[in-house]
């Protein structure tokens, strides 16, 4: 038998696949256990084969990045094996995700809880950025490395509600700042318990953004009128929009404002955000194990297809924070540590 086949068989035999907990166009997710230890895991079976262009590129990218990133706040890829033409990813089992938490109206969030979730997300994100990867709020299927200055990237990434204005204006050369905007909108959503900027189309997304925070001027955001898809979108006045999140306290409001700066160059970095006073001021972040968590076990749910433009399925699962997109429903998410946002 070929060496690679033998190694694969060995790997596959470590894991036992259990019931299906999620189903999508490109992948199914199953519960599983590690045979030797009984440890719970999630097994994501990527449907391959029969595609004209071979192995699915999104799946390849997800595997590529998860293989390299190891951090307590990023969902762990424990193993990869194949059965026939299917790639199976063995992922750390997490028992809830941030979307389920936000949606469960029976749960009450304290500021310390929100601080804890945001801190975990930022730590995962800081690590990812340090390693030269943009998350683009999705599964790692949309992640990419960025170190090549000057190489063009697509702007059709990130679930619309969390997409920064530079991408909505068609920017092809963007940076880690896109992920910071996304986390800023998720921060607000945690406070308000409804999506902050829920545009129905890309144009509407810009409208809602400017309506909420005022239309940017050249001074707010130098050069934005030169972006490829720039067009004038009304002139909404600036309001002290942060008053609507006053419950988080002044430090929290400040951090959100830093994350939601229009000018990507002025937006706070993950590292700087972690040094923000918000995290060193009272109250202390809730220890992950004590965070609110839905009582009901996550139910099987449909995994949305890869959606780079549609409405978010909001099942962030997984990884570092970000995963607010569809498709990877890790069946579970561990409460707190993994970015639980998964």
């Amino acid at each position: 038998m070929d060496l690679a086949v033998r190694e694969n068989t060995q790997r596959a035999s470590r894991w036992e696949k259990g019931v299906k907990v999620g189903e999508g166009t490109f992948a199914n997710v199953y519960k599983g256990i590690e045979r030797s230890t009984g440890r719970k895991v999630a097994i994501k079976k990527i449907k391959a084969g029969e595609m004209k262009d071979g192995l699915d590129m999104t799946a390849l990218r997800e595997v590529k990045f998860l293989q390299e990133l190891h951090h307590p706040n990023i969902i762990g890829l424990l193993d990869v094996f194949s059965v026939k033409q299917n790639i199976n990813l063995v992922l750390e089992f997490l028992d809830t995700d941030l979307e389920a938490v936000i949606r469960d109206k029976a749960l009450i969030f304290q500021n310390a809880d929100i601080k804890s979730w945001i801190a975990m997300s930022l730590r995962g994100l800081e690590y990812i950025h340090r390693n030269g990867v943009l998350h683009r709020i999705a599964d790692f299927g949309l992640a990419r490395e960025f170190g090549d200055a000057g190489s063009k990237m697509t702007c059709q990434v990130i679930t619309r509600w969390y997409r920064p204005p530079e991408l909505l204006f068609g920017s092809r050369f963007y940076s880690t700042a896109v992920d910071m905007w996304s986390i800023g909108t998720i921060f607000v959503e945690l406070i308000l318990r409804v999506p902050f900027l829920s545009g129905e189309t890309d144009i509407d997304q810009l409208k809602k953004t400017f309506h909420a925070m005022g239309t940017p001027t050249e001074q707010d955001w130098p050069g934005h009128t030169k972006l490829p898809d720039y067009h004038e979108i009304g002139s909404y006045p600036k309001n002290p929009w942060w008053n609507m999140i006053s419950s988080i306290g002044k430090e929290g409001q400040d951090l959100v404002k830093d994350m939601l700066k229009y000018d990507p160059a002025a937006r706070v970095s993950a590292r700087k955000a972690l040094e923000h006073r918000f995290f060193s001021s009272y109250p202390r972040p809730t220890p992950p194990a004590s965070l609110p968590k839905p009582l009901a076990e996550l139910r099987p749910r449909a995994l949305a297809p890869d959606e780079t433009q549609g409405k978010p399925a909001l099942n962030s699962s997984g990884s570092g924070a970000m995963k607010r997109k569809a498709e990877s429903p890790q069946p579970g998410r561990n409460v707190a540590r993994k970015l639980v946002f998964a």
Partner: protein
């Protein structure tokens, strides 16, 4: 992030206590799973080669038997001298690595990252497989196709195929998975090019930086790097060591002046008490220079030397007679194996179906089986519309198979969870499934 001890690779020359500690590179799959010492590379290849010779010999014998059983003529297994040696395999591999460069630059105009990644894939593949099992002419295009996807420069299949003569989409699709699997699904290759460009900036980090010289040296250093792709260097050294050696090979003075400056400012004492980790680059300067020279020797020996095309052709010819017949479509053994596989798959499918049927039966046994109504009406309606107790209970006229109480034609069974309603009609029972209640 700690690296678990199980994952520690064979210590290569530069990882034996010389690295300054975990960096992003040290977390990479490249460091954890694709670092070897020169001697372990050699023994891996010898083992693969030996095993393949065994397999080819055995399968050629089997092929002979299969041919005989079909009444065909046959060929005798090759004599032992005909098999490829490790160095034959390596030469062929080097040739196909150089082909990737040609195709990337002339055929597709693909960026360097695709080229270097594809070459790494090909070299990694042959640390898990032998040339005698899988011919590199088939694996090379697959590596390139896969690398284009994993580095974000995907090429459509049709367009890709059009650049090769005698290549069909199936040739790629049939081996793409095998390649991905041989790579352990580890697709990120850290190329020394980024490191080299980093050095070109770092070299300016000294008083009176020799900017002009750096600029002049860079293209030549990049050329050295291209030669590295044809060697084992990436399995033995870090990308930054390879990058610096490429500069050093182009202009040793440039690099040594920089190191002189670096070691004179960063380390105060050069007595024995200085902790190694605190030294620039986590090692003494003489050790670093030794590493650079080792790398340069390999570049000159394995990377820059011309590939002997005559020898390549000779090896390729010999390979035709010592390729595993199991892997060659059209051979009797290939057909036989394929049939065996199909039979096994059909058997496992049948077993699966049987298991599913048994499970369904098992489920039914909880509630009883589906109601069977011995109706006088058409058999189709009997099958399709079993009694719905809900309907009868509500007094809605029933269209088939049953009439209201009094004129009941059916003998209902009340096994399982059946209950009688006020009219004596059995509800549920074996038919519970048909009531639409969740099972």
């Amino acid at each position: 992030m700690t690296i678990s001890t199980n994952d520690q690779p064979e210590a290569g020359p530069s990882s034996s206590g010389l690295t300054p500690g975990p960096s992003p590179y040290h977390e990479s799959s490249q460091f954890r799973h694709w670092r070897y010492s020169p001697s372990s590379l050699q023994s891996i290849r010898e083992e693969l080669n030996g095993k393949s010779v065994e397999i080819v010999a055995r399968n050629t014998e089997l092929e002979k038997e299969a041919q005989i059983s079909l009444g065909h003529s046959y060929t005798d297994p090759p004599p032992p001298t005909a098999y490829l040696t490790v160095s034959d395999e390596l030469l062929l591999l080097r040739f196909y690595c150089s082909q990737i460069t040609q195709i990337c630059r002339r055929g597709f105009g693909l960026p360097d990252v695709v080229e270097s990644t594809a070459i790494s894939y090909l070299k990694r593949f042959y640390l898990k497989n032998s040339v005698m099992e899988w011919h590199p002419k088939n694996i090379m295009p697959t590596c390139l196709f896969l690398a284009a996807k994993t580095t974000n420069y995907p090429i459509l299949m049709d367009q890709f195929i059009s650049k090769f003569s005698k290549l069909s989409p199936d040739d790629i699709l049939d081996t793409e998975f095998l390649v991905a699997q041989s790579l352990g699904f580890e697709f990120w290759v850290r190329s020394p090019e980024k490191a080299l460009r980093g050095w070109s900036l770092d070299l300016q980090n000294q008083p009176d930086p020799p900017i002009g010289l750096i600029q002049k040296t860079l293209p030549d250093a990049l050329k050295n790097l291209a030669h590295c792709l044809l060697t084992d260097l990436e399995f033995i050294y870090t990308p930054s060591q390879i990058g610096l050696a490429s500069f050093h090979l182009s202009n040793s003075q440039l690099v040594e002046d920089y190191l002189e400056h670096k070691y004179s400012t960063d380390s105060t004492e050069d007595g024995d008490e200085v902790e190694i980790e605190k030294l620039p680059f986590g090692m003494r300067k003489d050790r670093l220079l030794e590493i650079l020279r080792d790398i340069e020797a390999i570049i000159e020996k394995d990377g820059q030397s011309e590939i002997d095309l005559k020898k390549v052709k000779e090896i390729d010819k010999r390979l035709k007679n010592c390729t595993n017949p199991e892997k060659i479509p059209g051979t009797a053994l290939y057909v036989k194996r394929k049939r065996e596989k199909e039979t096994a798959e059909a058997a496992s499918k049948a077993a699966k179906t049987a298991k599913a049927a048994a499970a369904a039966l098992d489920r039914e046994s909880v509630f009883g089986s589906v109601l069977s109504i011995p109706s006088s009406k058409s058999p189709a309606s009997k099958d399709r519309k079993p009694l719905s107790p809900k309907v009868t209970m509500n007094g809605v006229p029933v269209t088939s198979g049953i009439t209201r109480p009094g004129g009941a034609e059916v003998a209902l069974e009340d096994e399982g969870m059946g209950v009688k309603d006020e009219n004596g009609i059995v509800m549920g029972g074996k038919g519970l499934r048909d009531v639409g209640l969740p099972l």
